[in-house]
């Protein structure tokens, strides 16, 4: 049995390790476009803020693939996958035949499609090479515009402030992390961002990047304002990398949809990680939500299923944690709840800056946002993941003194 895995990050690596655990004999080939060993992608913004060094980002020791008995083709991009012939064509002309294929090719940063994006001084932050380019072009004290207030944009803004840059944050929606946070949590986060000295521009979008001699000079917003900046960092989301399916029946514009066994329409082709739309935890509809822990667990499930374990993926429960200068917000659950069916409860302690918001549907907890104090977040997610009826719990989740002791004591 020959297992071929495209992508050597969170999903690909955990899949390779799971396959090796369950099938000690099978041949495993891991293909990655990046010519370096797997690293912790979420650490890139910490690298930018100099809170972590290059030594801190590697996922596994250099000898890991050798010890695991995995043939790693690092630095070789995939140009075409032929599901009929069961072949993967690499950029160097090499052809790899597979019995089981895992597509964990991840995603690449989206661009805005506005004029001036090809100027020197426009960057994205997704790969280690992006960080190296950004690092080499960042003059100390220069003004940087970060476009997009998602997790990457927020953490990059914080990191740039740490380095002493002047930071401008531009976001099309009314608040930061628009997919996860409501108005109050967004307001709290905004307060912390402006406390850091980040200049915030919400509900506006950039329409052009102006250059001077091929270098960025200014960012033009939709309302006509011109912001003088030297560097523009685009953090406006990601797009699945599935170009190699061109011309096959798996070709799609968005992420690739998979069953709850993480299988595509070809039973021998599996997919996991940022390039997939996996069944949602609540509705079962294909959803994509790119977060590191989800990619790791999908890789484990897909790896086991490639060997034939028949494991079902429990479903994607969107959740994320963001920490800006020690102020933490953890949020997750239903992303866009139907207001007719959802009971929303929230409490806000102005003095301590602690906010708690719970969403209920049909007697079950379906969403939670905690800001300021997040120690008990995992308990809420556990109640959500087990779909426990809240009436049966020994304590009301909404009581002001809810804590684990009331649940188990």
């Amino acid at each position: 049995m020959h297992y071929v895995i495209i992508g050597a990050s969170a999903a690909g690596l955990s899949a390779a390790e799971t396959v090796r655990l369950l099938d000690p004999q099978g041949a495993i080939t891991l293909i990655s476009e990046e010519a370096i060993r797997p690293y912790r992608r979420p650490m890139l913004t910490y690298l930018l803020g100099r809170e972590a060094g290059l030594d801190d980002i590697w996922l596994r020791p250099p000898s890991h693939f050798y010890k695991l008995g995995v043939r790693a083709l690092l630095g070789e991009g995939v140009v075409q996958v032929d599901p009929q012939a069961k072949e993967v064509h690499l950029a160097g002309g090499r052809v790899v035949r597979y019995d089981r294929l895992l597509v964990a090719s991840g995603a690449q940063p989206r661009l805005l499609g506005i004029p001036g994006e090809n100027l020197a001084g426009v960057f994205t932050l997704r790969h280690l090479a992006d960080w190296q380019k950004l690092e080499a072009n960042l003059r100390a004290g220069a003004a940087v515009a970060v476009v997009g207030a998602g997790p990457v944009g927020l953490k990059a803004a914080e990191a740039l402030v740490r380095r002493g840059q002047r930071v401008i944050l531009v976001e099309a929606e009314a608040g930061p992390l628009p997919r996860l946070l409501d108005q109050t949590a967004g307001f709290l986060l905004k307060q912390h961002l402006s406390g850091l000295g980040v200049e915030l521009y919400f509900e506006t979008r950039p329409v052009a990047i102006l250059g001077d001699g091929g270098r960025v000079r200014a960012l033009v917003l939709a309302d006509g304002r011109e912001l003088a900046v030297e560097v523009v960092l685009l953090a406006v989301g990601v797009r699945s990398r599935l170009e190699f399916f061109q011309g096959t029946s798996l070709a799609s514009d968005g992420p690739i949809s998979v069953s709850s066994f993480l299988q595509t329409q070809y039973p021998e082709i599996f997919a996991a990680g940022d390039c997939t739309a996996v069944p949602d935890f609540f509705s079962g509809k294909p959803t994509s939500y790119q977060i590191w822990p989800a990619a790791v667990s999908q890789g484990q499930v897909a790896g086991a299923n490639m060997v034939g374990a028949g494991r079902r993926y429990a479903g994607l429960l969107p959740q994320n944690s963001i920490s800006i200068q020690g102020f933490k917000i953890i949020s997750g659950g239903l992303l866009a709840p139907d207001p007719q069916r959802t009971e929303v409860w929230s409490s806000f302690d102005d003095k301590r800056g602690v906010y708690r918001r719970l969403l209920f549907q049909e007697g079950c907890l379906v969403g939670v946002t905690l800001a300021g104090e997040v120690a008990d977040a995992g308990i809420y997610f556990q109640i959500m993941a087990q779909k426990l009826p809240v009436k049966a719990l020994p304590v009301d989740l909404r009581s002001p003194d809810f804590h684990p002791g009331k649940l188990w004591g």
Partner: protein
């Protein structure tokens, strides 16, 4: 693996374990010194008033597999291969809050520690006192507990022992002699005699 076992029914909520824990995780490792340190140490277990307002000590269970270890994006959380204990490396922690999101028991807290004074806060939780273990001593909280609510031992043995105690209590109840039944209150006896 030997671990700290919590017996909540015995806890009286005196908080001496919390003091002992904070002192053990201070730089000077004594109470007076700890209070004078620039970074005030934090206890790694919490005592909540439970139902009926009985105390409930909550601490890390050192799960296997550990959800916090699986989600840690900085690789700061690892399992000690010899001790079997889940530990957090403060110099690698980036204070992102992912572990609090994953922990089903809510045991993580974020606080500054003396090992990395330049960091605003790092994730802290029970590390089961590695220095004490090396010296063959009990963990600080167990040593401090006066009522046997925190014991140090093998959890499988502790579970068998507790099962035996429960069984003993049930059997002694079943075997109780009828004459040990409480006498009828005299008011009821008088009422029946009356008519």
């Amino acid at each position: 693996m030997k671990t700290v076992i919590v017996r909540p029914e015995r806890c009286v909520g005196c908080w001496q374990c919390r003091v002992a824990c904070a002192v053990e995780h201070s730089r000077s490792k004594n109470l007076l010194g700890a209070m004078a340190e620039p970074v005030i140490p934090k206890a790694r277990l919490r005592i909540f008033p439970g139902r009926l307002n009985l105390a409930f000590p909550n601490k890390c269970r050192h799960c296997d597999p550990a959800p916090c270890q699986q989600v840690c994006i900085a690789g700061a959380i690892s399992r000690d291969p010899t001790r079997g204990v889940i530990d957090i490396a403060p110099e690698r922690c980036i204070n992102c809050g992912m572990c609090a999101m994953a922990c089903p028991f809510g045991v993580l807290a974020y606080a500054p520690v003396w090992q990395v004074p330049e960091k605003r806060a790092v994730a802290v939780k029970c590390d089961q006192c590695p220095e004490r273990e090396q010296a063959g001593r009990l963990p600080a909280c167990v040593e401090a507990c006066k009522v046997g609510a925190l014991i140090y031992g093998d959890w499988e043995t502790a579970q068998v022992e507790k099962g035996r105690l429960v069984a003993q209590a049930v059997f002694s109840g079943l075997l109780a002699q009828p004459e040990h039944a409480p006498p009828m209150p005299h008011t009821i006896r008088l009422w029946r005699q009356w008519g």
